[in-house]
C-alpha cells in the first residue's frame, strides 16, 4: 500500500510542476513584406510584430513601423546594389515603404534583399518567374448591382504557383497602389486551364457589409502574380490564417514560413505580373495591359 502512496505523491507533484515544453512567450520580431516585379522598382515594408495583448490603433501601429532600417537590393546577375529610400506613402498598409529608384525587376533576374536594423542583419533572395497570360475574363451579373468576375489563365511553362491580387477604385484619383491578395486567390500551380473566380479581398474592418462580388461602375484592378514555390507556401498559410482563425472544424495553429534569414518573419518575393483593369459597366471589355 505504501508503494501506491509514494507513486501517487510523485505523480501529483509531477503534474503540478511547470510544464517543461515550450510555453507561449511574446518575442519581438521584424516582419518583412518585400516584393520586386518585372519593370517595377523594389518595394519593402518593415514592421515589428506586437504582443497579442496590445491594442491595435493608428498610434500603436505607428510605433511598430520600422523607419530607420538600412535596406539594400542587389541585382545578383549584374552585381548591382542600390540602397532603398524610405518614404511616407499613405496608400500602403504600413504608411511607410522603402523603394529602389534605379534597380527594376526583370523576368529571370535574381535579387537579394539585405536589411540592417538595430544592429542586426537579415537577408533573402528571390527570382522573378515568367508571368501567366490571360485567356479570357468575363463578368457575370449576379443580382442588383453586383457582378462576379471569372478568368481563364494560360499556364506558364514551369507550372509555378500564382496569386491574384486585387483592388478597386471609382476614380482615377483613388487608384490603388497596393493590391492585397484576393479572397481564395492563391493557387499552387497553373498546369490546367481552369476557370477561376476572382473575389474581392476580404475586409475585416467592415465584415458585415463585405461581399465577394464587385459593384457596377467600380474599376477592378487585378494582378496575376506568378511566384516561386515558396511564395505559395507563405501565402497559402497567410490565407488560411486570415480566413479560418475562428473555424472549429478546420482550425489554424500555423505560423507562415519565412525566407528571410536572420530570424525575421515575412517574405521577399519576386513576381511575374500581368495586370488588368475591368469595369463591370462596360462588359465585356478586352483586357487592357497596363504595363
Amino acid at each position: 500500500m505504501r508503494f501506491f502512496v509514494y507513486i501517487f505523491i510523485s505523480l501529483f507533484l509531477s503534474s503540478c510542476l511547470k510544464e517543461e515544453y515550450p510555453q507561449n512567450e511574446f518575442k519581438e520580431q521584424l516582419v518583412v513584406e518585400g516584393s520586386i516585379r518585372q519593370d517595377r522598382v523594389a518595394e519593402v515594408m518593415l514592421t515589428l510584430n506586437m504582443d497579442k495583448s496590445e491594442e491595435i490603433s493608428e498610434e500603436t501601429m505607428r510605433d511598430k513601423i520600422v523607419r530607420w532600417a538600412v535596406v539594400h537590393v542587389t541585382d545578383v546577375d549584374r552585381n548591382d546594389t542600390e540602397k532603398l529610400i524610405g518614404m511616407v506613402d499613405e496608400r500602403y498598409p504600413t504608411r511607410f515603404v522603402y523603394k529602389s529608384s534605379r534597380i527594376q525587376g526583370r523576368i529571370g533576374g535574381t535579387y537579394r534583399l539585405d536589411i540592417t536594423y538595430s544592429g542586426r542583419q537579415w537577408s533573402a533572395e528571390t527570382t522573378i518567374p515568367n508571368p501567366n497570360k490571360l485567356y479570357d475574363i468575363k463578368m457575370e451579373h449576379v443580382k442588383d448591382n453586383l457582378y462576379r468576375l471569372q478568368a481563364k489563365i494560360k499556364p506558364n511553362a514551369e507550372g509555378l504557383p500564382y496569386m491574384i491580387r486585387c483592388a478597386t477604385s471609382f476614380t482615377e484619383e483613388d487608384r490603388p497602389i497596393y493590391y492585397p491578395p484576393a479572397l481564395f486567390g492563391i493557387f499552387d500551380s497553373c498546369e490546367q486551364e481552369n476557370v477561376i473566380t476572382i473575389n474581392r479581398p476580404i475586409d475585416y474592418t467592415n465584415i458585415a457589409e463585405y461581399s465577394t462580388l464587385f459593384l457596377k461602375f467600380e474599376d477592378v484592378h487585378i494582378e496575376f502574380c506568378t511566384m516561386e514555390k515558396f511564395g505559395y507556401k507563405y501565402w497559402s498559410v497567410w490565407e488560411n490564417c486570415t480566413l479560418n482563425s475562428l473555424n472549429p472544424v478546420f482550425p489554424v495553429d500555423e505560423v507562415p514560413p519565412t525566407n528571410i534569414t536572420g530570424g525575421a518573419a515575412g517574405i521577399w518575393m519576386g513576381y511575374g505580373v500581368t495586370s488588368y483593369i475591368v469595369r463591370p459597366v462596360n462588359i465585356p471589355i478586352p483586357p487592357q495591359q497596363t504595363q
Partner: protein, 681 residues
C-alpha cells in the same frame, strides 16, 4: 444504397437461420434456453471478468441523470476511471492518454465506425436494445485486435422473452421505441428505432448568424434463434444516420454534413460438450461520410468512408485449471480517405481508395495453479496487406492476478497493441469530419506498449469498494494531421503529406471509490495522468502536451432512492483544460492582421466542470413494468465550458478606432433542462 444492401444481408441471414432451425427441429433434442442474467449489483459500472476492465450494467442506466431526456451508454463512460472527460460537442472518448481514433466499438462483434451522433450527446445505441457492454482498457484479451487504447464491446439483447414487450422514451428532442417480439419458445425479434427533432436546439445554441437543420436516426434489429445442439444464433443489424445542413449569411456559405453507418452481423455460438464452445461471426459494416460546401461561387465536396467485411472465429476450451482460447480474424476493408473534389480540382473520385486485408491468429490461456494466483497469457499474430505493402506483427499480452482473502486483489498487466486503420482528426475535438486512412510504409501502424498494475479491495459485504490502478504507455507512430482548408482544395493535394507520425507517452493513476446501499449509490473516480507527444515536424521536434492531456480528471456520481417512486441523481465532472495552440503575437502582412502562434499545444483551455441533476418519478402501475417521468438539468450552474478558444481582431467597445485581439470561446451548452416520459410494458 449500401445500407439497403446491409439490411438485405441481414434478411438473408434470417432466412438461413430459419432453414437451419427447421433442419434442427426435426431432431428431438434438449434445448437449453439461456436465462437472462439478473445482477443484484446496482452499480452502473462493475468489475468485468478481467481486472481493471469494466462491465456496464445497462439496466442501472435508467436511474442515471439524463441528457436532454436520454440516457446513453457511451456518454456514461466518462464517469469511469481512465476515461478522460471530453468537451461538450466532442463525439469521442479518450482513454489513458490515447487519441479519439484509438478506440474500437463493437456491436454484436461487428465494428461501428461512427458510434456517436453530432455533438456527442447521444451514441448510436438505443439503450433498451442492448443488454450490456464491456469496456476493456487495462488488459486486452487476445481476441481483440487492431486497436490501441480501448474496446467497447456492446451486446444486443439475446434472450428469448416470454411475452411481447414495448419500451420507449419520449423527450423534447428525440424519442425512441423498442419492441421485443417472441416467436415461439426458441426465437425472438428485437426492434428499435430512434428519431430526433433536434434542429430547434441546434438553432438555439448557434452563436452565429446561421440557419441549421440537423436530424439523426437509429434503427436496430436483432433476431435470436436457439438452435439446440448447434447453439444459438444472434443476427443483428443496425443503421444510424446523421444529416446536417447549414446556411451561413457570411460569404453566402452553404454546408452539408451527412454520415451513416450500417452494420450487420451474425454470431453463432455453439457448445460442443461441456467444456468446448465455438463462436463464429460474419459481419459487414458500411460507413460513409459526406462533407460539402458551397462557398463563394465554388462547390467542394469531400466524401470518405470505410467498408469492412469480416469473419471471426473463437474456440474456448476449459480443462482442469486451464481455460484455453484460440481463433482467427479476417477483415477486408475498402477505405476511402477524405478526398476533396471541387471546381478548383480535378481529382478522381476513387483515386485514393485503399483496399486492405487483415488476418490475425490468436491464442490465450488462463491458468489458475492455485486459489490465489491467476495467469492469463495470450498472443496475437497479425498480417496486414495494402497493395504491395505488407506488415507482420505479434502482440503479446499477459495478466497476472492474485486474488486474496475473498475481498482483495492485486494485478499486473502488459499488452502490446497494434492498430492498422487510422482515424485522422481534423481538429482538436473529435468531429464528424474526421476520416479513416490505412497504414502504409510511410505511416506505419500505431504501436503501443501498455503496462498497468492495480489493487482493489471491498468491504462491508462488498458494499464498499475501492481500487487504484497505475498505468504507463509508450506509443509509436501516433498521428497528427496538420492541413489547411485552402491547401485541401489545391490540385496537388496529397493527404499523406500532412499526416505526421511521432511518438507518445502517457502515464497516470486511476482511483475509484464506490458505496452501494439499498437506498443510495455513490461512485467517485479520480484520474491523475499526463499524455505527451513528440513529432519531428511539429513544435521544432520538442515534446508537447497531447490534445487530450488533462492531468486531473474527477467524476462523481450519486443516486438516491428515498422511496420506490422517487429516484434522484447527480453527476459532477471536473477536468483540467485541454491543450491547444494559442496566438502570442500579431503582425501586419498583406493588408491584414496575422496572428503568430506559439508553441504547439502550449496553452490550456479553461478547466472543464459541470453538474447535472436528474429526478425521476416512477408511477405505480400494474400495466407498466416501468412508467416514469424524468426531469433533468444539464450544466446546472451554467458553466461556460468552451468548445475551443479562437482569437480574433475586434473593434474596441469604447473606441471604434482601436482594435484588440480577443478570445472568442463559444460554449456549446450553457444549460439544458429537459423532460421525458419513459415507459415499458
Amino acid at each position: 444504397m449500401k445500407h439497403y444492401l446491409s439490411l438485405f444481408c441481414t434478411l438473408i441471414l434470417l432466412v438461413a437461420s430459419h432453414i437451419a432451425y427447421a433442419q434442427q427441429d426435426s431432431v428431438a433434442m434438449s434445448v437449453k434456453v439461456e436465462q437472462v442474467t439478473v445482477t443484484s449489483d446496482k452499480r452502473v459500472f462493475s468489475e468485468a471478468d478481467r481486472y481493471g476492465n469494466i462491465a456496464i450494467n445497462t439496466k442501472q442506466l435508467f436511474s442515471m441523470p439524463r441528457i436532454a431526456g436520454s440516457i446513453d451508454i457511451v456518454r456514461m463512460l466518462q464517469y469511469s476511471p481512465g476515461v478522460i472527460v471530453s468537451n461538450d460537442g466532442d463525439t469521442s472518448i479518450y482513454v489513458r492518454g490515447g487519441d479519439a481514433g484509438q478506440n474500437l466499438t463493437l456491436l454484436n462483434n461487428a465494428p461501428i465506425y461512427s458510434p456517436a451522433h453530432l455533438f456527442g450527446f447521444f451514441s448510436v445505441f438505443n439503450t433498451p436494445h442492448i443488454s450490456g457492454a464491456t469496456f476493456l482498457k487495462s488488459s486486452m484479451p487476445a481476441q481483440y485486435g487492431s486497436v490501441l487504447s480501448s474496446v467497447l464491446d456492446v451486446r444486443p439483447n439475446s434472450y428469448i422473452p416470454t411475452k411481447f414487450g414495448i419500451e420507449g422514451n419520449i423527450g423534447l428532442i428525440e424519442s425512441d421505441l423498442a419492441l421485443q417480439i417472441p416467436m415461439g419458445k426458441k426465437s425472438a425479434i428485437f426492434l428499435s428505432a430512434r428519431h430526433s427533432y433536434i434542429s430547434w436546439l441546434v438553432q438555439a445554441i448557434s452563436k452565429i448568424d446561421m440557419n441549421v437543420k440537423y436530424e439523426f436516426e437509429d434503427y436496430g434489429l436483432t433476431y435470436v434463434q436457439e438452435l439446440g445442439k448447434v447453439g444459438k444464433l444472434v443476427v443483428n443489424s443496425h443503421f444510424n444516420n446523421d444529416k446536417a445542413d447549414a446556411n451561413l449569411s457570411l460569404f453566402d456559405t452553404k454546408a452539408l454534413l451527412h454520415w451513416w453507418d450500417s452494420t450487420s452481423s451474425a454470431v453463432l455460438e455453439t457448445p460442443i460438450g461441456d467444456n468446448l464452445t465455438m463462436k463464429n461471426t460474419i459481419y459487414a459494416t458500411f460507413f460513409n461520410n459526406k462533407f460539402g460546401a458551397y462557398l463563394i461561387g465554388n462547390d467542394f465536396f469531400s466524401p470518405s468512408g470505410v467498408t469492412d467485411i469480416g469473419y471471426k472465429h473463437t474456440t474456448e476450451w476449459s480443462i482442469n485449471k486451464f481455460s484455453l482460447l484460440g481463433g482467427v480474424d479476417y477483415a477486408h476493408r475498402r477505405i476511402r480517405p477524405q478526398n476533396i473534389m471541387s471546381s478548383l480540382t480535378t481529382q478522381n473520385k476513387d483515386a485514393q481508395t485503399q483496399l486492405t486485408h487483415e488476418v490475425a491468429l490468436f491464442a490465450s490461456a488462463l491458468y489458475k495453479p492455485w486459489r490465489h494466483l491467476e495467469i492469463d497469457a495470450g498472443i496475437r499474430f497479425s498480417l496486414y496487406n495494402i497493395g504491395s505493402e505488407n506488415f507482420f506483427n505479434f502482440e503479446p499480452r499477459v495478466l497476472i492476478a492474485t486474488p486474496f482473502a475473498e475481498s482483495g486483489r492485486v494485478w499486473v498487466a502488459y499488452n502490446k497493441t497494434i492498430q492498422y486503420l487510422q482515424l485522422i482528426p481534423q481538429s482538436n475535438a473529435s468531429f464528424a469530419t474526421d476520416f479513416y486512412v490505412s497504414s502504409n510504409y510511410e505511416h506505419p501502424p500505431q504501436i503501443s506498449h501498455n503496462f498497468s498494475v492495480g489493487y482493489g479491495q471491498s468491504a462491508l459485504k462488498q458494499q464498499l469498494r475501492w481500487s487504484v490502478e497505475l498505468f504507463y504507455r509508450q506509443m509509436y507512430n501516433v498521428l497528427e494531421f496538420d492541413t489547411r482548408l485552402n491547401t485541401m482544395l489545391s490540385a496537388n493535394y496529397n493527404i499523406y503529406d500532412y499526416i505526421y507520425s511521432g511518438v507518445g507517452e502517457a502515464y497516470g493513476a486511476e482511483f475509484m471509490l464506490s458505496y452501494s446501499h439499498p437506498k443510495f449509490d455513490i461512485q467517485a473516480h479520480y484520474t491523475l495522468s499526463r499524455s505527451l507527444r513528440q513529432f519531428k515536424k511539429l513544435n521544432h521536434g520538442k515534446a508537447f502536451a497531447a490534445t487530450t492531456d488533462r492531468p486531473h480528471n474527477l467524476s462523481f456520481l450519486a443516486v438516491y432512492r428515498p422511496t420506490k417512486q422517487w429516484s434522484l441523481s447527480a453527476t459532477f465532472l471536473y477536468a483540467t483544460g485541454g491543450a491547444y495552440t494559442a496566438p502570442t503575437a500579431i503582425e501586419m502582412v498583406g493588408g491584414s492582421f496575422l496572428k503568430e502562434y506559439g508553441a504547439y499545444n502550449g496553452a490550456r483551455l479553461p478547466d472543464y466542470h459541470r453538474l447535472d441533476l436528474s429526478v425521476t418519478y416512477w408511477f405505480k402501475s400494474k400495466k407498466f413494468q416501468r412508467n416514469g417521468i424524468n426531469i433533468s438539468v444539464y450544466n446546472v450552474y451554467l458553466r461556460r465550458n468552451p468548445l475551443l478558444l479562437s482569437w480574433n481582431v475586434v473593434e474596441d467597445e469604447e473606441n471604434p478606432e482601436v482594435y484588440r485581439i480577443k478570445d472568442a470561446s463559444p460554449a456549446l451548452f450553457e444549460i439544458l433542462p429537459s423532460i421525458s416520459w419513459t415507459f415499458k410494458f
